[in-house]
Amino acid sequence: MPSENLAITWRRMPERYRLVGTECQNCKTAYFPARKLCPKCRRKGRIVPRQFSGRGKIYSYTEVFAGPSGFELEVPYLLAIVELEEGPRLTAQIVGVSEKDVKIGDEVEMVFRRIQEDSAEGLIHYGYKFRMRRRG
């Protein structure tokens, strides 16, 4: 499996480990992943880091039967576009459920999981996935 540049892995840890994105203080738009420039405000934008709550809804999803290398043990798994309650959408795995258990609009919350490992001797990559929110 091709391994990611270590510096990139390291730089993205706040984003992947705990959903740190950015927000434009001028127009109050939240960005995930982080943006350095607000496309709406351009030079007037004031970008600051923003910690996202990790709560959101399933916007769309699909079941993956033939995943990329490194995911052989996980198939079949659910891959979803999650809309965070702060607005941004991101793509992530939904864990602990199968296709019949989910529908569009279901509430989900972020969990911290292993994403993949470079090899048996390589780095272990961690990051966000989502699970169904506890009911009641």
Partner: protein
């Protein structure tokens, strides 16, 4: 204790998947009912393919922060005790710190002492917090333990985590830690060599000279140190490698088994190793009333026990009441069973995985 120290937040995490002892017994041609009865364990937790000691520790830590309402930036020390750290060299504690948003002004380390590495972390945090070196310390016990296929340990070795934030502001306590006492000897009851996938153990030798001697030695040592006795406590939480040993230890010390049962979770989730007695403490803290006293004694093979005398504080009512995250009872109820084939895949027991 010179300065009052206490638990300002706590949280647990148990994976969703379970396998029944009877299902493991079926594969190895054993009598499931006899195993259940002999071990007092009916099912155990199994981590998902993407869970390990670091991910379980992160989830327990996040729960502790939410319940405790403590800023991760105020945590000055973080220790993760485990016998299944994901890396041989590279700390789990740094992964947890980054994931909860603690540091970089932070001291951190991984601890190992079989099943008592989590409580060893609590003691280190008590020292650092008590002497004023840090404002809050976080101690976590987390494991995804493995038993050799077909070995007796396979019926119990499971996965879970528990995290505690130790502080010294009395008004923030959910419980005060009144005192601690440890009992440690060199006892070869259980070990795993570097690069070995599964542990080796001394079979029946793990009982009397190991578990019982240390659990009873630490518990009675704490009684003597503090001038307390069994009747002073409302709950006892002992390390729980199976469902039987904690009740037997209680019997040997003249402790009412009804005081042990509320903190005994191994029958439902198996032996979560470094998290076993810490998860028991989380379960008791979820139900205990202010003023009640809890005696916690861990056990780690090799061997040692740490005992703690804990008094539940008034502050627990508000923190527990306002907590919206997952409680131990949620994790225990939220489960899905695996058969042995799926379990083998989850635990990567097949050589080619």
């Amino acid at each position: 204790m010179a300065v009052a120290v206490g638990i300002a937040g706590y949280g647990a995490c148990v994976p969703k998947y379970r396998i029944k002892a009877a299902e493991i017994a079926r594969v190895w041609g054993e009598d499931g009912a006899r195993i259940e009865k002999g071990l007092g364990v009916f099912e155990k937790s199994v981590p998902d393919i993407d869970e390990d000691a670091a991910t379980l520790a992160v989830e327990a830590a996040r729960n502790a922060i939410e319940l405790g309402r403590i800023s991760p930036q105020a945590i000055g020390a973080l220790y993760v005790g485990s016998e299944s750290h994901p890396y041989a060299v590279k700390p789990t504690a740094t992964i947890v710190a980054e994931a909860i948003g603690a540091g970089p002004a932070l001291t951190a380390a991984d601890l190992e002492f079989a099943c008592k590495a989590g409580t060893a972390g609590i003691q280190i945090c008590m020292g650092l917090v008590g002497c004023g070196m840090v404002r809050y310390g976080m101690a976590i016990g987390s494991d995804t333990s493995q038993g050799k296929p077909g070995d007796a340990l396979e019926y119990t070795a499971s996965a879970g985590a528990a995290a505690f934030i130790i502080g010294r502001e009395k008004e923030e306590f959910v419980a005060e830690i009144e005192d601690t006492f440890s009992f440690t000897t060199d006892t070869p009851d259980f070990w795993r060599r570097q690069h070995a996938e599964f542990p080796s153990h001394g079979g029946r030798f793990t009982g009397a000279p190991a578990y019982f001697r240390h659990v009873i030695g630490a518990t009675q040592g704490l009684f003597e140190k503090m001038g307390t006795r069994a009747s002073d406590y409302d709950y006892f939480v002992f390390h729980q490698p199976n469902g039987k040993f904690p009740l037997e230890a209680a019997k040997k010390m003249g402790i009412d088994p009804e005081k042990v049962k509320p903190g005994l979770f191994t029958p439902l989730i198996g032996n979560t190793y470094s998290a076993a007695s810490p998860i028991g403490l989380c379960g008791v803290l979820d139900i205990a009333k202010p003023g009640q006293r809890i005696l916690l004694t861990s056990f780690g093979s090799g061997a040692g026990s740490d005992s703690f005398s804990i008094r539940v504080s008034e502050g627990i009512v508000e923190k527990r009441g306002g907590y919206k995250g997952w409680r131990l009872s949620d994790y225990i109820a939220h489960k899905e069973y695996l058969d042995y084939a799926l379990y083998a895949k989850h635990r990567r027991k097949l050589k080619s995985l």
